[in-house]
């Protein structure tokens, strides 16, 4: 689960990580008032959406008067913000963060993530802050420094020293101390809150030598949300595609994509592979949808409903491998779903696995319009025909 910048900064504040003073507002008038209450000029006006690249997209403005803060916030709230990480039509901004400006001396990068191969947390530090860290890593890998954390020992001061004493030029002792303290606090927040990412970019050293988290990004491990009860209300469903949000209510693993062939599959790996088959057939998948390895009739029904709500869908491919779940049961599920929903697009069904013959008979014997594919290859051919027709 992603958090907004302002939410992440509130968390940082609780953990003692220094952040600029700020207020979250939802209108130009509130922005004007907020700027009046904060130290300035300058002030910074920042769109709050779950997508990177806000600065380049026009979602971050530096202003000199409270009136400017008001009009900048109003402008950001009025039209969707388009960044390299949003959909082409952009995303509506519901909240804006107004912050006091800071006098920047240097911009650094600091983050904690879990390294998959090492199976432990890793602190990543760079003196090339304010930029895309992946680009820095690709261009000048020597500028990206890492410290893996032994989970039993936790974050140790020597690790902080080994990171900060690599800075060139070396900041003064008070700044070094502030940076090392901030690292320990960020690690503590990461572990305490079951984060999958805690990132400060840029981590600013101000002209008076203080360390400050000028941006903040926190992602919470979805698997840990169940025990991070205080984090649960921080979810902002407005940040999801409306169909993604609805699918989540249905407990479906669904991600909307830009194509026109809807796909319903049991199991995540098979769902991804089915999307690939659609692409190889010359079409584009409209979605990822995994109704679960042992899909029930109910999940199949809900899955079909979600796919049909996507107006771009021109044909649907249902690909089910019956394992423990029998194909005849699944075929009945598809029939029940088809009866409950008005399907106006061609439906291609490919069943394999346990009781497959019985399942196919049920489908072929029904009066609903199906095309039954007998193999993955045949399913792909049928998809191609639908696309070219």
């Amino acid at each position: 689960m992603k958090l907004h910048e302002y939410q992440a900064k509130e968390i940082f504040r609780k953990f003692g990580i220094p952040v600029p003073e700020g207020r979250v507002v939802t209108s130009g008038d509130e922005a004007l008032k907020a700027a009046g209450e904060l130290n300035g000029p300058p002030w910074v006006v920042k769109a709050q959406i779950h997508a990177g690249g806000r600065g380049k997209g026009g979602g971050v403005k530096i202003v000199r008067t409270p009136q400017e803060a008001g009009s900048a916030a109003k402008a950001i709230l009025e039209k969707p913000l388009i960044t390299k990480q949003t959909a082409p039509e952009g995303r509506k901004v519901h909240q804006v963060l107004i912050e006091e400006g800071v006098e920047i001396d240097r911009e650094l990068y600091l983050a904690v993530v879990i390294d998959r191969a090492m199976a432990r947390p890793v602190m990543i530090f760079s003196q090339a802050g304010g930029m895309d860290i992946e680009e820095v890593a690709a261009r000048s890998p020597e500028l990206v420094r890492k410290q893996f954390v032994n989970p039993e020992a936790g974050w140790m001061p020597y690790q902080a020293r080994s990171l900060v004493y690599g800075l060139d030029p070396l900041p003064g002792p008070e700044t070094l101390k502030a940076l090392m303290s901030l690292m320990a606090l960020l690690y503590k927040a990461f572990i305490t809150l079951d984060c999958s990412l805690a990132e400060i970019n840029p981590l600013v050293i101000t002209k008076d030598g203080k360390a400050l988290a000028v941006d903040a990004k926190i992602n919470i491990d979805d698997n840990a949300l169940i025990r991070q009860k205080e984090m649960q209300p921080l979810d902002d469903p407005r940040e999801r595609d409306p169909l993604d949000a609805k699918a989540k209510e249905y407990n479906l693993n669904y991600i909307r994509l830009n194509g026109n062939i809807g796909a319903m599959v049991n199991g995540a790996g098979l769902a991804m592979a089915t999307m690939d088959v659609i692409k190889l057939a010359g079409a584009e998948p409209a979605n990822f949808l995994d109704v679960g390895g042992g899909a029930s009739e109910e999940m199949v029904t809900r899955g079909l409903q979600i796919i049909l709500e996507d107006q771009n869908v021109k044909a649907i491919l249902i690909n089910i491998f019956g394992g423990i779940m029998r194909c005849d049961v699944l075929a009945r599920g598809v029939l029940a779903a088809a009866e409950k929903t008005d399907i106006k697009v061609p439906l291609i069904v490919r069943l394999e696995g346990t009781n497959v013959e019985e399942g196919r008979k049920i489908l072929e014997g029904s009066n609903l319009q199906f095309m039954v594919a007998r193999s993955m290859a045949e399913a792909a051919e049928m998809v191609t025909k639908q696309v070219s027709a």
């Binding site: 990480q85 879990i114 998959r116 191969a117 199976a119 432990r120 947390p121 860290i133 992946e134 032994n150 989970p151 039993e152 572990i191 079951d194 999958s196 491990d221 979805d222 698997n223 840990a224 169940i226 025990r227 693993n253 991600i255 994509l257 599959v265 049991n266 199991g267 995540a268 790996g269 098979l270 769902a271 991804m272 592979a273 089915t274 999307m275 690939d276 088959v277 659609i278 692409k279 190889l280 584009e284 998948p285 990822f288 995994d290 390895g293 491998f321 019956g322 394992g323 423990i324 394999e352 696995g353 346990t354 193999s375 993955m376 290859a377 399913a379 792909a380």
Partner: protein, 291 residues
């Protein structure tokens, strides 16, 4: 032959009294698996499908001589269940549970370091040595005893591939679902090393997907140290970046973990990569021939 599990493996089911645990205990028994015990704390002296239930793994080991486990406990208790099994010296632990917090798995990984315990999963279908035993939730009947090894990060996608192999007349020595999470107990290389030593296994099918770099590492290992033929399939070529595709570990982030990079690395290592899911069986047959 087979690796890790066979007809002599004595399985304890952790979480046997739960719905999933009970259902799959029945399925495993039907396949011929020796499910010798179950564990659910506080449920000692019950029986599930005729299998005696104990409070602890320690009791199950002492009374029934179990040496492998299959875990069905809920996500927040699964790390503890894995560590209990490992602390009692079980050689193979299969964790079916999906949704374990990543930091719990960090603890598990640290706990398992230096122990003689092979963790398969979590978030996996388990392991099967066809005709001998299955420790997991895969449908047994699509498998056929034979000489192809299968290692996969997925569930139903593995069934699809195994089904194609069986229909092509190619049986399997052992099929392992290593799990779809970011942190898993064992990965491709761990099992490739075992298949390398297994005289009966004549080739291996790898089924990977987006996220992480386990496929790239496997490619490097195969090129360096693995002489049997390897055929690979990678799911997720059309997956968009920064979206978790069902499995916790299936995500392209920061430009890393892309299918195309994995395919390139595998091909560079001389591994045949099947582009179309419908053609895995026939490609394996082309590369390895009939038995």
């Amino acid at each position: 032959m087979s690796i890790l599990v066979d007809e002599k493996t004595r399985v304890v089911v952790q979480g046997i009294t739960g719905r999933e645990g009970t259902f799959h205990t029945k399925q495993m028994l039907a396949y011929g698996t020796v499910v010798a015990a179950g564990v659910t704390p506080g449920k000692k002296d019950q029986k599930v499908e005729g299998v005696p239930v104990f409070n602890t793994i320690h009791e199950a080991v002492r009374n029934e001589g179990v040496n492998a486990s299959c875990i069905f406990v809920p996500p927040l208790f699964a790390a503890d269940a894995i560590m209990e099994g490992a602390s009692e010296g079980l050689g193979v632990i299969v964790c079916i549970t999906e949704g374990i917090p990543a930091l719990d798995m960090v603890k598990v990984a640290g706990f398992l370091e230096g122990r003689e315990c092979v963790l398969i999963g979590p978030n996996c279908p388990g392991i099967i040595s066809p005709g001998k035993t299955k420790v997991g939730i895969m449908p047994g009947h699509i498998h056929k005893p034979g000489r192809i090894g299968v290692i996969s990060r997925s569930g139903t996608l593995t069934y699809e591939v195994v089904d194609q192999l069986t229909k092509a007349g190619l049986g399997q020595s052992t099929c392992i679902g290593i799990g779809g999470d970011a942190i898993i107990g064992t990965t491709f290389i761990d099992h490739l090393k075992r298949f390398k030593e297994d005289q009966e296994t004549r080739g291996v099918v790898l089924i990977g997907e987006i996220g992480g770099s386990a496929e790239e590492a496997a490619a490097e290992y195969v090129q360096r140290d693995f002489e049997k033929p390897v055929i690979a399939f990678i799911a997720g070529q059309t997956a968009p970046p920064d979206k978790r595709m069902g499995h916790a570990g299936a995500i392209v982030s920061g430009g890393k973990g892309k299918a195309e990079d994995k395919i390139r690395a595998l091909k560079a290592a001389g591994i045949a990569v099947v582009p179309h899911l419908g053609r895995v069986g026939e490609t394996v047959l082309e590369v390895m021939g009939h038995e």
